[in-house]
Structure formats: structure tokens, C-alpha cells
Amino acid sequence: MISRKRFFPIFRIVFLLSILLLVLTACEHSPEISPGPLAGFSERVTALVTTTVRGQLRDNPPEQKLLVAQLPSFEKMASMNQLMEELKGIDHLKNLAYLIETDIMFELQKPEHHYERSNFNSSEVQRQLVSAILAGMKKAIGQLQGGKDGK
């Protein structure tokens, strides 16, 4: 028969091992936080525009400042065309306008964006586009300047 004195160390080891196992199990748990795919037209336009703006303005603080300064006036635009014309009117940002237009045309030609394609000139789609472009611009600037919109 095992004496009490002998039994205690074994019990302690088993106890410690079970605690360790519990801790390890807890460590392996990870909450569901991974990004999901973008479903809507606006979200996708924003993603493309963000990358375009960021790529064009990286290492170019003067142009970043220029774009930031223009954002309030861009907010007033009612259509994508108006916004692009404004952008093309600014010498240093002209190229950006053409690239953003390319992004939008690329996304628009996809079969799932049939509604946006057929109603392209409607004020609803145009408003949607303007806010998607502006969201992309702000996000890109936020990422470049490490601000709160940078995520």
C-alpha cells in the first residue's frame, strides 16, 4: 500500500500537469477575427482606390498634403465625373485621376456588378462611387501617415 507521504508528491505532480494542460488548451484558443471577403461594389472600389492612392503618394508628402487639402472640396462633388475632372485639374494629381478611373472600370465590368453598370448614371450609383473613392483616398492617407484611418 502507498503511504500518505509517498502519495502526496505524485498527487502534486498530477495536479500541476493538469493545470499546465489547462493553460495550454486556453492558449490554443483564438477568437474569430480574420478578415472576410469584400462583397459589395463600393467596398471593392475603396480597396482598389486605397492601394492606388497609397502607391502613388508613398514617399511624396507634398502630394499627400495637396490631396488632403482638396478632400473637403471633393466631398461636395455629386458625381464621379465631377470628382475626376477636379482631380485632373490639379497638375500633380492628374495621373492619380486616370488610375482611379481605371480601377473603377475594371471593377465595373464584372458580371456581379450588373446593377451598378446598368444604373451607372443614376445619382444613387454616382453618390455611391464618390463616397467609395473618397473613403479610399482617406484610408490611403491614413495608412501613409499612420493615423486612425490607417487600419
Binding site: L24, E28, P35, P37, E43, A47, L48, R54, G55, T102
Partner: protein
């Protein structure tokens, strides 16, 4: 023979963000389309999105994914002793299901005119196998995409049927041979490490066994990539050389077609049925990051921009 343009995407973990930038330039700005997309490891995650022309989601994926979305740590010692890998890939499995498993998104992949091939290595046979949207049922293809990204020891093998599968990069990091076998006439390849001339020596002493293991794996990886590219290039150069010999025989020696054919009769032609393939390679000028398993969104955004810029320069 019809032209067939292939995109060959190499492995490289988080460095796949560079590929995302390259692809954005090629497909959105240049308007290029591909008939064939062959990817290993991180390239296997990119291939379905390229085939579906879903560049917005490709960028979104690489700009937002973090370490915790790919792997969960298993404590080192216990993992070594009692399991098949140091990390668990459950988060990556979930991510793959989210991005590729959805019915509508998968249908787009099936309807795409671009054929995808993702490379995996069968641990039992030691052979390279491929996952394809038309040859494999959806659950198998999703498992192969996951397996293609599973670096052995770091991540567990994926079981399909009775076999275990791991990262295709164990044998072929830049899968040129599959693109050539599938009849590609022009290949655009994205390789995620600089060429040998631009590789910086590491000026530190490796003291821990883990550091030595990581450095050894990096050297092996570079060697495999160099060989993948070399084999593909040598193939085309050899075919060009043979064609030139035949042309010279006719022009300079006045040989007829049948005389030229006789010259080669009885010889085993290792290039039978193969054709010259134009290869354009886009790769970074310098090492993009130390560890390819470091999914840091800020660094990855920087790599997306680098890839975009590099592709533009190579145009």
C-alpha cells in the same frame, strides 16, 4: 498553335503581398489576362483570386491578414514531442473557406477561362501533385490550397484520402514546369526573393539551433527557386539553339528539310513536343523581409506598393 499566357506564382508566405501589387498592375492597369495560373504556397492562395479577377479581394486579403489569422502557436517542446507541427493552421483553414468556399465565389472560379493549378507534395510518394478547379471536387481543392501553404514542421500536413500533403515549395517553389507542360507560350512569373546577385550576406553569427535551421531553410529555398527558373530558361534556350542549328544547316550548308531531319533521326529528342516559352520574371531588388511568416499589415501594405512599382518598371 494558340498563344497561352501563364502566370507562375512562387511561394513566400507574407511576401505574397508583393505578388498582390504586381498582379494589380498587370491585370487592372495593363488589362492583362491569363489562361493559366500556377501557384505554390502563398501563390496557391493568390491563384483562385487571379482566375476570378477578384483583385480587390486579393489586395484586401494581403493588406489585412495578421499572424493570428494564419496560425496559432503550439508550445514548442510539446509540439515537437506530441504533434505533427509547431503551429496549428485552423485559422488559415477558416480563411480559405471564407475566401474561396462560398458557393457564388466558387462558381466564378469554375466559370473562369483561366485554369488554376496549385502545387502540393505528397508526403507518402514524395511526388508533386496539383490541385485544379475542374479536376478536383471543391473540398479537395480547398484542402490542396491549404496544403500548398503548409510549410512542413511549422505547419501540419493536410490529409487527403490516405495521404498527407504539404507545401509544394518543398520541391518546386516557382512552378514553371507545370505551366510549360500545360502548353504555356509566355510565362510571367513572380518570384519573392531577389536574384542571387542582389542577395545580401548576413553579417551575424548564428548561435541558436533554430536560427541555423531557419538560415538553412532560407538557403535551400533560394536554391530551389534559382533551379526552377534556370531549368525553365535552359529549356527554351536549348530549343532555340536546336532550331538555329537546323536553320543554319539549311541556309549555310544548303541542306533540305529531309536531310536536316535525318541528322536527328535515331536520337532521343528530350525536347520532343516542347516549344520555346518566353519568360518574364518580376522579383524584388532586395530581400522583402526576414521571416516570411510575419504577417504584419503595415509591412504587407509596403510590399503591395513595392510589387506594384516593380511591375511598372518591368513593363
Amino acid at each position: 498553335m494558340a498563344n497561352k499566357r501563364a502566370l507562375v506564382l512562387s511561394g513566400g508566405g507574407a511576401k505574397g503581398a508583393f505578388t498582390a501589387g504586381v498582379v494589380k498592375y498587370l491585370m487592372v492597369e495593363l488589362g492583362l489576362n491569363f489562361d493559366l495560373v500556377v501557384g505554390t504556397s502563398t501563390g496557391a492562395l493568390i491563384a483562385p483570386l487571379v482566375a476570378s479577377q477578384d483583385i480587390a479581394n486579393l489586395i484586401h486579403f494581403y493588406e489585412n491578414v495578421e499572424d493570428r489569422d494564419i496560425l496559432t502557436d503550439r508550445p514548442d517542446l510539446l509540439a515537437f514531442l506530441f504533434s505533427d507541427a509547431l503551429n496549428d493552421t485552423k485559422p488559415l483553414e477558416k480563411l480559405i473557406k471564407k475566401f474561396f468556399g462560398d458557393r457564388r465565389r466558387y462558381e466564378r472560379l469554375l466559370q473562369s477561362s483561366a485554369e488554376i493549378f496549385v502545387t502540393v507534395v505528397n508526403m507518402q510518394t514524395g511526388e508533386i501533385e496539383y490541385g485544379n478547379q475542374h479536376q478536383d471536387p471543391k473540398p479537395t481543392l480547398l484542402k490542396k490550397i491549404l496544403a500548398s501553404a503548409c510549410v512542413p514542421v511549422m505547419m501540419p500536413p493536410v490529409k487527403i484520402g490516405k495521404c498527407q500533403y504539404v507545401d509544394g515549395g518543398v520541391k518546386e517553389i516557382a512552378p514553371f514546369s507545370k505551366a510549360i507542360d500545360e502548353g504555356a507560350t509566355h510565362i510571367v512569373s513572380v518570384i519573392l526573393s531577389p536574384d542571387s546577385e542582389n542577395r545580401e550576406p548576413i553579417r551575424k553569427e548564428f548561435t541558436s539551433s533554430m536560427d541555423i535551421l531557419k538560415r538553412t531553410l532560407a538557403l535551400l529555398t533560394d536554391e530551389i527557386v534559382d533551379n526552377d527558373l534556370k531549368i525553365a530558361t535552359v529549356y527554351s534556350e536549348a530549343i532555340r539553339y536546336l532550331d538555329q542549328i537546323k536553320a543554319n544547316g539549311k541556309e549555310r550548308l544548303g541542306l533540305t528539310d529531309s536531310q536536316v531531319r535525318k541528322l536527328f533521326t535515331g536520337l532521343d529528342n528530350p525536347f520532343q513536343g516542347k516549344r520555346v516559352v518566353g519568360i518574364t520574371t518580376i522579383r524584388p531588388d532586395e530581400e522583402l523581409m526576414d521571416s516570411s511568416l510575419n504577417f504584419d499589415p503595415a509591412k504587407m501594405r509596403e510590399m503591395v506598393d513595392k510589387g506594384y512599382k516593380k511591375a511598372k518598371e518591368e513593363k
